[in-house]
Amino acid sequence: MLEPVMFTGGLYKHDLVVELVEDLGGYVLQKNVTQTEIILLILVPTEDMAILQAMAKELRGELVRAPLAGTEVAVVTPTLAIHHLPHSACDIAEYLRRHGSKTNMLGLARGVGREIAQINEYETALINEHDAAVFIFGNFQECIKKKESLYRNISVPVVVTGGPEIEAKDLPYAFEYVSSIGRVAHRARKATEIGSLDRIVESVGRALDKTRSSIAKDPLTTSPPRVMDSVREQVPDVEFSYSPLPIALNLTGVRVKLPYDAYKDAVKAVTFDEGVSLGEIATIKPSRMKDYILVRILSASETGFVF
């Protein structure tokens, strides 16, 4: 069992942490360098946590659990205009990031209004590439109920946020509804506002747990972090991608941020120690996000084996 944690510390000697994680059989999911600070998102075997904690203490770093690590969450607003950004949407996205999730902010092209709000096929497909979505609505319950059409066809769990209290039965297509986060014109700073952000994180955590438990019934042939590691090793060009996170991890696969046409064969040819190639155990298709490569690992019932 791998434990998702976040290491925050100085840049100096952080290589020791990376080496230790690799030696323990864990994975470094993300590395963010901010001047002299570094933030590492790590998956480490639960039984070896104490060793990593000792190392973090020695380096005067901080090690905290990041329950959403290794997942990608879409934070969806009706548009990217001043009415929805930056306050509530950025607060939610940042808070999810602090708990280890990779978040993508998505403004719909025509999501505004009560009667005229709509979502197109491309936007739906793009949101479906994530592990969960958070839809941020406003302060009027009539509008929130009416805007259900925006997420009705989305197959990943959708957490809806808005201002007023609304009963769950009134929003049957939402995974959960979190109130007290509607349209605001200031950053979340009061304890109650931070509490609402915590409730969103908890709700997203529950949504992801639900997906995890459904995956556990028919496990994936291999784990996404292992695919990420192998792609990183065998397709070295991925390190030259301009994206801050060249390989984004999902619960069911990865997104490789390289042009699809030029690199799909190289990704398909990635081979594991067991002798199978990635093309045999996963579907490799173009992502809806830019020109990236989407890798979806097949389940054990489709390939007949797990490694």
Binding site: V112, G113, R114, F140
Partner: protein, 190 residues
Amino acid sequence: MDPMEVFKIEVTGQEEFGAKKYRELIMDILQGLGLIRSIGRLYVYVDILKPYFAVYGLLRSGIPPLTVKDVGDVMKVQGGYQIKINDEEHMADLLRVLGERYGRERIEQPARDIVIIASDTSPSELMVANLEAEFLQDLTDALVRVAPEGFRNRRNIMTKDSFFFIAAEESLTPEMVSEIKGKIREMENA
């Protein structure tokens, strides 16, 4: 406590939360743009089922234009007038206006906040900026920000002492406008 004399907001249906939040939102936006002290009374009417959003406001007494003596101290010195600038916010406007009135060759700026003009006429009463026009621009911007984003059909009627703003999803009809005016009047008289 509200800085305005009257601030009423009414939303149709079971939207008490929405009304309360919109009140905070309007205050935040008006305060952010520094407009709140210039508005005396504000009435907001929202019908979320139609849907439309209307704001009617009465402005406090007109804002006089900003003159040179408002941004600095004007003193007679040998060979002209000296302006000691206290408010640098309008520095660029001040130098432009002085340049246009006296010509650049007659303006000297020995220090950042000192301007000397070689002239016999005092620049005290020269207009530096028309604050009322700026205020009305900011107010329109604030109203567009306050209105729900999908309400793209807008009408904004501004007079010297009041403003009336309507935003709706559907086209604005004369019936709708008169209905809204009636509702606002009811709020005023309540």
